[in-house]
Structures are given as C-alpha cells and as structure tokens.
Chain length 186, copies 2
Amino acid sequence: MDKREAILKSVLKLVNREGFYHLNMKKIAQEAGVAAGTIYLYFKGKEDLINALYAMIVAEFNQQVLEGYDDSKTVKENFFEMMSKAIDFYLDQPDNFSFVEQYTYAPFLFKENQDENFLLLLPIYKMMREGKTAGIIRNIPDAILLSLIHGPMNTIVKLHLAHKTDLNKKGARQKFYEAAWDAICA
Amino acid sequence: MDKREAILKSVLKLVNREGFYHLNMKKIAQEAGVAAGTIYLYFKGKEDLINALYAMIVAEFNQQVLEGYDDSKTVKENFFEMMSKAIDFYLDQPDNFSFVEQYTYAPFLFKENQDENFLLLLPIYKMMREGKTAGIIRNIPDAILLSLIHGPMNTIVKLHLAHKTDLNKKGARQKFYEAAWDAICA
DNA sequence: ATATCTAAAATGAACGTTCATTCATTTTTT
DNA sequence: AAAAAATGAATGAACGTTCATTTTAGATAT
C-alpha cells in the first residue's frame, strides 16, 4: 500500500466532506490509516501536502482534457469533446471539484503564486487560439472567451453536484454544449 | 461610529487580504479598532459573524441587481442591465466578491443550509422565467440557463480582479454581454 | 456649571481547547 | 543485527470565548 497516496486521498475526502476549515493533521492520519507523524515522512508539512495534492489534480485534469483533443477534428468538435472530458473528470471524482474550488478561492492560503490558478485552463486556451485564427471563434479578448467556456462548465458541474440538475439526463449535455458554443462561435 | 459595521467591514477586508484560513478574532478586533471581547457584544460568535456578513452582502447584491430590472423593457435589455449591475457590484467592492466566493465554496464551514448558496441567483431566475415564457430565451432546463448566465459573469469578474483582463476598457463589456446573450437566446 | 451616581458599553488578561509539529521509542524490513 | 519506516505521546503556540474590571455616557442633584 502506498502511504503517500493514501494520505493525499484522505485529504481529498476530508476537504470535500468537511471543508478546509475543519481539516487537521490528526483526521488526515486517521482517514489514511497511519500515525500523525508518518505524514511528515512524506510531506514537509500541511502546506506542502495541500500544494502537492493540487498539483496532482491539475496534472490529471489537463492530461484527461487534452486527451479529447484531436487536430484532425473541427474546432467545434474539439470544443464539445473537451467540455465533455472536463465535465466527466469532475463528475467521476466530485472530490476533485470541491477541493480545487476551495483551493482556488482561498487567497494566500497556500499559494505563493496567483497564476497557479490558471494552470487548469491551459487546454481551453489552446482551442481558443486555434479557433480564432481560423475565424470560427469570435474575435474578442481571450479572457472573455475563457469566461464563456470555463464559467458555464464550472457552474453546471456545481449545480449537478448540488443536485440542482442532472447532467446524465438524456440530451442535457448536448443542449449545454450547443448553447455554450453559440456564445463563442463567430 | 458604528462598531457592528466596523467589525463586519474588517472581516471583509481580512478575508479578501488573507483568506478565511488566516482569519481570527484577534485580527478582526484589531482591524476594527475594538477589543476582542467587544465582538461578542454584537455577535454570538465567529460563525454568527460570518453568517451575518454573508446575509448582508446577499441582500445588497439582490437589491442592486433588481434595481436594473424594468418590466417595460425587453428581455434582452433587462439581461444586459442586470449583468451590468451585477458586475458593477463586484467591481465597486471587490472584497465582496472574494468573500462570497470563499463562503460559497466552503462546505459545512458555517452553513447549515446548502440552498443558501443559491440566494444570490434569485434575480437571474426571475429574468429567465419571463424570457422563456415569451419564447425569447431557449427552452432548456433552468440550471443550464443559469450556468450560462452566472458562470461567465462570475469568471469574467474573477479574471478582471486578477488583472487578466480589463472590463473598463471601451467595448469590452458590450462584447461580453452580446456573447453571453447568444448562449441563452432562442 | 459641577459633581455624583448608575447602567450600559467596552476592555483585555486569563482559560481551556485544539492543532501542527517533533522526536524518543518501537516495529518492520533487509 | 543493522537500517529504515512508522509510531503516538509530548510540546508549545494559537485560537475562540469568557468575565472581572474599567471606561464612558447620560441622568439627577447640588
């Protein structure tokens, strides 16, 4: 059994269940089935642990979303595919969503670098640039396009996880993709 | 000088500057220019204080956004107006944005009721319903529409406050409104 | 005006608890 | 038996809250 991974997973579970505010090292150790001191064999401290987890999730997310990207497809197809992968990522592991949101919105909690926040958005930037040069995507500032892609995706996942809607319902995702696309297409 | 208000304002300032994680009663008292014990004359405790602040901001936000609403205008005009008011609210008082975001994404931190989160969205619901019955807004689930309105607004404000874009630049807002509108109009 | 009294408001040191981290000791692996 | 990994009790700092005491403000009497 990999203890490092067990520790990371237990942070994820606890942050989702109780929030950052109630997270403490003893709980993390208990949930992971190790002693409190053991955590310090794998991480420098609490901050290091949290940052390592965030970095891990970002890496997984980008990898999974970029998997959906195919240069031979149209921009629209790539857009749909990436939206789909991104939503899948969070629906498959809701803990990830909760953690990333809380981490992102806690200024100066554990981050030295504000720009870290935007690492999650790298796949979107790629698609945007290509669509714009091809004249298929609106020629408006990148940040506005970004808000029209990331914003809805983020909110719809939140609403789904809060049981305010059901993204698994037939046709629901397709309607969402189409509407989001109309916001960005030229 | 109203001490209750001074205390609330100092929470707002501190949460924005250092995050919930580093917030403590001593700092709140110092920032407000009162003794630690004084806070307990106005609030039952830390939770009560935080909840009171959130309630205050939600009330102000809804009031300000609904101010832009005018039944004699078209749905599109109302949409633009409300987007504008909502963005103004956060740009004028960025502390409010930071606080609301952090509060929203901290499950079980101070909330008994998850639904509280969605109070901020009441003005949007009103416009959506009316537009749908008039056939002007897409006939898709409310939650999806909501994500297409609230999501972009939320993200663009975040990007603006992080200096990734400038919403005060001429034409920027108009482009944003138009694009967001195209996502929801039938 | 000034002094005296009273209740409300405010103070901040003290308290009990919680927490992250350490490290002497024990357990496991080689 | 030596080295590496793991333990968890101990430590001291930090925190939310309390409450005995002090300060302030308003009313009343001199």
